[in-house]
Symmetry: C2
Subunit: 192 residues, 2 copies
Amino acid sequence: MSAIKERRERERAQRHQLIITAARELAEAEGWEAVTTRRLAERVEYSQPVLYSHFRGKDAIVRAVAIDGFGELAAHLRRARSAAPEPRQALHAVCRAYLGFATERPALYRAMFVMPTDVKFAHAETPPQLRASFDEFVSCFRPDNARRELSAEVVWSALHGIAVLSDSGRIPPDGQKERLDFLVTRLADTAS
Amino acid sequence: MSAIKERRERERAQRHQLIITAARELAEAEGWEAVTTRRLAERVEYSQPVLYSHFRGKDAIVRAVAIDGFGELAAHLRRARSAAPEPRQALHAVCRAYLGFATERPALYRAMFVMPTDVKFAHAETPPQLRASFDEFVSCFRPDNARRELSAEVVWSALHGIAVLSDSGRIPPDGQKERLDFLVTRLADTAS
DNA sequence: ACATGAAATCTAGCGCTGACAGAAAACAGG
DNA sequence: CCTGTTTTCTGTCAGCGCTAGATTTCATGT
């Protein structure tokens, strides 16, 4: 009887993740406009109300997708930074990786940083994966730089601006490299 | 008979603007989620289909609001730049004005720079008000700076990033001044 | 002054959406 | 095999953007 309950919970957890994955795939394939509760339910081969037994509502599903994304972003940035031989190149590599992430997974990126959210940023309840992503930027600045957190914040904001303006067609897609180089050159640590 | 037609067209133009204004006011008061064609129609005291005799659809109304906004932003930035005594302060003043605009009219700002749009940016068909806004940034850099357009683009992007992340609660509202100062210091023309 | 025809406007409805209440089915335990 | 709980589904709600077709308004010609 305990074993049965365990199996059920296991299956339930699988289905939970299945919903998140399906939502993400659908969003990446056709955009978030196409992610309706009905289409999502059809895709996971359950009826619509089942979604509400896992999530409070559609917003909560988007949020779950976003949190998955935070983990991937942190790993992505970490990989980029580790591969860079020295600090100055580290910032460049992390920034390039960030923009690449945003460009290659626009729907996921939107869930994380554009769509309305109640996820806490820069707060005690901030998801650790998100904190980790931010820390990748912080680590690109010298520990003795009293304003490295501020620097990280501004770099992140600037990258975000470039990412979303480019994604929505408000700045031309070519010239990203120039913008990136310019930004990094100006915002990197001044030579000690 | 010609006079009648003229009066009608005048009234029609007034109603056109009335719809735009009502949409904007409703959005600024309750957010764009609250701007439905029904509520908007009720507010202008006409039936819903009348909206569609003026605009192709809801998107077109949002776009009209945005274009109004571009004009206001250009004027706002121009005022700020004119009031600054010298170039270095000009960039600072324009950036501060930009962030102020975004903060004080978040709904209008969203229509202009966040919501999906088919307005052409950096293009021959770009609305002149929008081009003018961009040029205010360009003018903050020295004419002999070969990369002043690039600089303007990056400054704008960074400000946009700060504006939207702050508006959606993804960076703390306090510290805006520090971010602004930091950004301007780093991105301004290097001393000739 | 009244009928006519066009123009402007409204009523009613379509196919969607997110969300939920209550019926139905599945299933473990006696 | 029956019982009671848990799970899942059917059916529905109010509201969305949008539109076809009925209705009203109104300048015009007799």
